[in-house]
């Protein structure tokens, strides 16, 4: 069994926790000095850095939420000047305002370290050639995974997203052994291979995969592995952390959450810590993040943490599969989508009424999203060319804001269901069985 950083990865739990507490205390002290936002949070709870001596003390610090990111858009939560930054990534936010994340050189280094450990843990080495189907650009997936693979000396084929025919051509022609992307895209690749009469086992050297960026399940993993012969490893992260960060080892029994980089709490509905293995809300503190620190950040995902030592020998806690969200965020083809973003687009177009409904499907595990919106009575016209224009304008605006394509359906006034209480704007028919 190979390790990237064996001493650290196999350190006893008590030593790890001791290290975590020291890092927490130092981060709290630093942040209290440099971040007005954080100092105000502390003051609102009547706390100073001297009050934080134990994990229990730390839990008194108020949470940081997505709304804090929105309220401080774009860079109000950065604690380093732009001079110190070497990279900026941007992901979708809640109401039209994206989340902007800055990175120092050390931030990139720790992010990359996290992925290098993870890749090594499932057997990737410098001998592997990894095709990276994650999007390169503002999205963290492409560059994050790219740097991680390069760190361990693997060869990266940066295909990014799209053009599946070319992706398949390349994985046949170049000795690609590993692939990274969303699980749904891997299913799509498998489908297209079938259509083209390509047998992944026979025609490629692929045997390892990193799949993440969207919800998926054990049964999907089994199907994908049985179909392709590729060992598929789950991946978890978020742009607020750094990007994709935590991977599964070859045992495939949970994501190794590096305790020297991240202090992860799992809390019940009352904000109390859950027992090992019990599901609750994930709260993240990044212990070494410099430009855009996260302290007690509610990412909105639900899962459980297991501190029992992994069969691979690693001692860091393992995060189980994400089983839900605490908010209304949807993950569609690996992209975070908030109904509020769709609502804001609809609000800006005068020809639409405020009534809308989002439907999600995933035939062959490929997500599709349909946005149905009622036309406003005044703009309803019998001119079909005009209707088509309105439809394409909505479609284009949604693509601009969401970064993914949504199917658009214009409805007649008064046809969508009205809700008396809290409106139910989403029907998610996706199945992960």
């Amino acid at each position: 069994m190979a390790f990237w950083n064996e001493k650290l990865e196999t350190m006893p739990r008590e030593d790890l926790e001791k290290m975590q507490l020291e890092l927490i205390k130092a981060k709290v002290r630093e942040m209290y000095g440099v971040s007005d936002f954080f100092r105000k949070k502390m003051e609102s709870a009547g706390l100073t850095p001297d009050d934080i001596k134990t994990f229990e003390d730390f839990r008194k610090i108020p949470f940081m939420r997505k709304s804090d990111l929105r309220d401080n858009y774009p860079d109000g939560l950065f604690v380093r000047p732009y001079d110190d930054l070497v990279r900026i990534h941007v992901s979708s936010g809640t109401t039209g305002k994206p989340t902007v994340v800055g990175y120092t050189k050390n931030d990139l280094d720790n992010w990359t370290e996290s992925l290098a450990r993870g890749m090594t843990s499932f057997g990737m080495t410098h001998k592997d050639v990894m095709q990276n189907c994650h999007g390169y650009g503002l999205f963290t997936g492409g560059l994050g995974v790219h740097y991680g693979a390069e760190r361990i000396g693997a060869t990266v084929l940066p295909t990014s997203t799209g053009n599946t025919a070319r992706q398949i051509q390349l994985m046949c022609d170049i000795p690609v052994t590993a692939i990274a992307g969303t699980p749904s895209y891997m299913f799509h690749i498998a489908d297209v291979c079938d259509q083209k009469g390509i047998d992944i086992r026979r025609d490629t050297k692929l045997h390892l995969a990193i799949a993440g960026g969207e919800p998926w399940s054990e049964s999907m993993r089994k199907k994908l592995q049985d179909r392709t012969g590729i060992r598929v490893h789950n991946c978890y992260g978020a742009s607020e952390f750094y990007g994709p960060m935590f991977l599964e080892c070859s045992e495939q029994c949970g994501l190794h959450v590096w305790a020297d980089l991240c202090y992860m709490e799992i809390l019940d509905e009352n904000g109390n810590p859950c027992k090992d293995g019990e599901r609750g809300e994930i709260v993240v503190t990044m212990l070494k993040k410099e430009a855009f620190p996260l302290i007690r950040y509610k990412i909105g995902d639900i899962s459980a943490l297991d501190w029992t030592r992994c069969r691979c020998g690693r001692t860091h806690p393992r995060l189980m599969r994400i089983s839900g969200r605490t908010d209304d965020m949807l993950v569609v083809r690996g992209v975070n989508v908030f109904p509020s973003q769709i609502e804001s687009v609809i609000g800006e177009l005068p020809f639409l009424s405020p009534f809308y409904h989002i439907t999600l499907e995933n035939a062959n595990y490929m997500d599709s999203m349909t946005v149905a919106v009622e036309l406003s009575e005044d703009y309803l016209t019998e001119d079909t060319v005009e209707i088509a224009k309105m439809s394409s304008e909505l479609s284009r605006r949604l693509k601009d804001v969401l970064n993914i394509k949504a199917d658009v359906r214009l409805e007649l006034p008064g046809t969508l269901e009205r809700f008396e209480g809290k409106a139910n704007h989403v029907t998610d028919n996706r199945s992960y069985d």
């Binding site: 009575e377 309803l380 016209t381 019998e382 001119d383 079909t384 060319v385 209707i387 088509a388 439809s391 359906r409 214009l410 409805e411 007649l412 006034p413 008064g414 046809t415």
Partner: protein, 147 residues
Amino acid sequence: MMSDDGLITQLSIFVNNEPGRLAYIASVLKDCGINMHAFNLAESADFGILRAVVDDPEGSYSKLKAKGIIVKKTEVIGVLIEDTPGALFKAADVFGKAGINIEYGYAYSGKKASVFYIRVSDPGKAVEVLRQNGVRIMSSGEIRWGI
């Protein structure tokens, strides 16, 4: 109410794209005692539009509205066309030469005459040009009389 501006009020009835909707609309038309002289079913990607020339557009409009049907009024022109080969060419040629753009149209072929109902970008101008060129245009009164 007769008018001689050559324009006919067409009703555009909006129909959801779901099975049974057209039958429902048809039953409402029946219940309201609305007689359609000619109609056409247009479709956008999102919903259908039943465009109809009826006996009494204003009255029918109010009746449909009262029944909760989404309906709009549009001005169209009824071009009377002889039931002989080349008759359509005669009318179309006038439009072409006058630079009038037809958005859509549908035909009705009756016992006494055939009518080509058209929607154009500038109906007022179209009527003028057609009349100048001796093309016969139907008045709204003629629909009620039956042709």
